[in-house]
Subunit: 515 residues, 2 copies
């Protein structure tokens, strides 16, 4: 009887009454996620404007719901209730956070922005194709204006605009912390990169280019995704201009790739996106379709994709059981290339222009460029029209290369077109998280042996147990600390890179170190 | 000044205030349409239950919006306003109709039904694959229960349940009218079919089966769709178990097909779906994304798809300019088959078990079976478990064939799994509408000459002018009358079939007739 009473009172609690609202809000968001997926992978060319109206209306409905009196009132009542589980507390926390952020933005502005974004990715796609920054600049300006205005609405007292944006993607990593992080990378990696390039070691990688038929690359992509743990019963692999991962819920996680001239480009992008997807597929059933049913943060997400792509996927041991299959698939290209030479080639350091094709060592310097430019755009009123030149100058300074056109320069990434400012730093953070996790895991697991035996699943399960299952219950710093026993420590990342590339390029004084 | 005042008063009119609500309602529906498309063409196997929850939540939001106080109040206020255009009046009419229908249904029931439907198509797919009617029967029973209950809620005084359902798909065609229509078809076509089959004329069609590589069929499907007027800038062609057309708006209309053993199966299903799609792509821009932005009715839709598939697509003149291309694509299969023999083969009368693969003559008899069974299920409480036997008996009586299993019998169509009762009759009505339109158009256009010259577009434009552009502004009887000058007259359909097949099978007394 008592139990029943308790359950009844529970049923009428503000928290329970809140659930149908949150479920509807999730449904509206999920619908817009499906539209985004569809826009990038399938929708016909002329659909743009009409579909943007649909997306705008859905986003407005979402905003109205989350900021409406009912949700607001119920959230306030939740404050007076107690006995919540960790999941319930986290859902309330996220709902309040979302409500606060959305409440600040006038609905018409929010809606206009959503429509702008739906259109702008199309404009960006065309501009990139045409190598025409001017065609995208006015749209980008509008997007920045909105982003700054929104951040202004959302800022807590004294909070700087770019910190507001950073907070959307990674709690606990403001400019203050990131300045430190990037300063370390700049101080350690720029000179180290010089050491590597000065050394002049020739690594052959010409065989990665050329005659790799798309149909075979497609089959290989599917097999590799499955090998590292992507579950095709709960996911889809498709093609789009820029690889990405999206998830409707833990039973429907979708990745894309793009088959290019260099076979390693799609190869590692598939392993990378599969890393994101394995994370989402691994979120606990009881969390999916709630406000805490996705990965913890962008940085944590990127840690998983880079863990799969680099720490596992570029390890020679990973290729031991599967490289013979590649040789059989592409006998004319790889038949006479040894596994050792293949692995050296896919780890070759080559300062380049395209972030998504960067090697592990130069990767975070691409992010550094974007971090500095975003800070200038948001905090120092840098004008959009100055972007191409500044972009080129910074690439020259850090990486020693200079883009010939906007497509291989400032137009290469979709993020700004989507209004995602403050997102890029999480790529570098992710790599650093991954390195810290790997250093911890290697204390008790022999990665080399597991990979040689063809058992990447054992490593994946450790990540699932410590990270994936928790979704957004806990933030990235907490997850990292719970797993490794230490707060975020970027030195692991620098050490990992120096050890790996020191070995590959025979740089003295790097090989034996490990934090 | 006066003009400005008028515009201002217009801006504050109930009608204008209603628009944002309707736009949001359309967006919710469009989202669910995208989910349905995605479920049928792409979604991973295990996504089902979670995605059904999303779809249920979106449908509930739609129902709440359309039946909410705001929309109700504004629609009432519209009654007192005047000076509406035809478009505005039609939108108000549709909104009121929709509101009335939805208001009758308790929200929880509506939502539970939407979730059931999202799941049931998946159960049906599996059951059909397993040839296992029992696996689907309990779900079908639930669906029928809901449909009857909903029709009961919606019925106007004295209206019979099946008439309520018929009304959803085709206004102006109740059981009384359909009994007459189907009686004519039964009286004329069943004996005529006997004449044809008794004649024993052998038409060779073995060459349509066999080695037609899917990749080539896919290319051919694309080219044919484009040839008859499908605009790939505003549409997509994909694959699914059962071909269908869906539209998000007039700039995004999607068709599917299925590549089977018989090449003519996908060939004509593509022309058929392209007919539906050309209709939707032809709806006026000012109507799309409103409540009158789709085709007028199911029957009118089917008239366009069957016009394209049969009246144009199975005409020998249609193949004159393009058959040589088919021969070049499939030299081993068609190289030595004359165009005349090809056209005879694709018009061969062969009473069969599968509706979607039926020839033109037997097609409406497949529909007749379904019409009679639906009437019994809804009006006479026929039990679901009796369906397979009754289905088989009727096929034997009208068509002389008997299914060996449920997959080629009662499980062949998706409609009941989707809760679409009252839909099937519109297939036969559509064929009859098309025949009436063709008889009218042939008075002033030489179809044969246009098709021989490779100009199906001229015929398409006449249909666009008389039918497509109007969307749902006017109902099918009105459109038919405006175009042909006559009310619906099914004798045109009977005459068309008898003339065409009388000629093909040399049946005396049929060749010269035309109403």
């Amino acid at each position: 009887m008592k139990q029943e009473q308790k359950e009844n009172s529970r049923k009428n609690s503000a928290y329970e009454q809140l659930q149908p609202y949150l479920e509807r809000a999730m449904a509206l968001q999920t619908a817009n996620i499906l539209f985004e997926w569809d826009n990038e992978t399938l929708a016909p060319r002329q659909a743009g404007a009409c579909t943007a109206r649909v997306q705008g209306a859905l986003a407005a409905a979402y905003q109205e719901l989350m900021t409406g009196e009912e949700v607001r009132g119920l959230l306030e009542k939740c404050e007076k209730e107690s006995g919540f589980t960790e999941k319930e507390l986290a859902i309330i926390r996220e709902a309040k956070e979302e409500q606060r952020e959305l409440s600040c933005i006038p609905p018409e502005e929010y809606r206009a922005f959503q429509e702008l974004v739906a259109e702008s990715t199309r404009i960006w796609t065309q501009a990139r194709k045409d190598q025409d920054f001017e065609a995208f600049a006015p749209t980008l300006e509008k997007i920045i204006d909105y982003q700054k205005r929104f951040a202004g609405y959302q800022a807590r007292e004294g909070q700087r605009l770019y910190d507001v944006m950073l907070d959307h993607y990674e709690k606990g990593f403001s400019m203050e912390k990131l300045d430190e992080f990037f300063a370390l990378l700049k101080a350690e990696l720029v000179p180290f990169l010089h050491q590597v390039t000065d050394k002049g070691t020739e690594i052959r990688d010409d065989f990665l280019e050329g005659d790799y038929p798309q149909e075979k690359q497609r089959r290989l992509a599917e097999e590799l995704a499955e090998y590292v743990g992507f579950d095709f019963e709960k996911g889809v692999l498709a093609e789009s201009a820029h690889p990405f991962t999206t998830n409707l819920h833990n039973r429907d996680v979708r990745i894309t790739t793009h088959y290019k001239d260099r076979m390693d480009s799609s190869l590692f992008s598939v392993i990378h996106e599969a890393g994101h997807a394995v994370y989402e597929q691994g979120v606990a059933d009881e969390l999916t379709q709630t406000l805490v049913g996705q990965g913890a943060s962008m940085g944590m997400h990127e840690s998983q994709s880079r863990f799969f792509e680099n720490i596992i996927g570029r390890d020679e041991a990973f290729w031991e059981p599967i490289y013979p299959k590649l040789q059989r698939m592409f006998p004319e290209k790889l038949g006479k290339i040894s596994r050792e030479d293949f692995v050296r080639a896919v780890n070759k350091v080559q300062p380049g222009l395209i972030r998504t094709e960067a090697d592990e060592l130069t990767y975070s310097l691409h992010v550094l460029v974007r971090y500095e430019l975003e800070k200038m755009l948001i905090e120092e009123n840098l004008s959009v029209k100055e972007l191409p030149k500044l972009w080129a100058d910074k690439y020259e300074e850090y990486l020693g290369v200079r883009p010939r056109n906007a497509a291989e320069g400032v137009l290469q990434d979709i993020h700004w077109a989507q209004g995602s400012f403050g997102y890029f730093p999480s790529y570098a953070l992710g790599s650093a998280f991954a390195a810290q996790m790997a250093a911890f895991m290697k204390q008790s697991l022999d990665f080399g042996e597991l990979l040689r035996k063809g058992e990447p699943g054992v490593i994946r399960e450790v990540l699932r147990r410590h990270i994936h299952q928790y979704g957004k219950l806990r933030d990235s710093r907490r997850l990292l600390k719970d797993m490794t026993g230490e707060d975020f420590k970027p030195q692991y990342y620098v050490d990992y890179l120096k050890e790996k590339y020191g070995k590959l390029y025979h740089i003295e004084g790097c090989e034996q170190r490990n934090a």
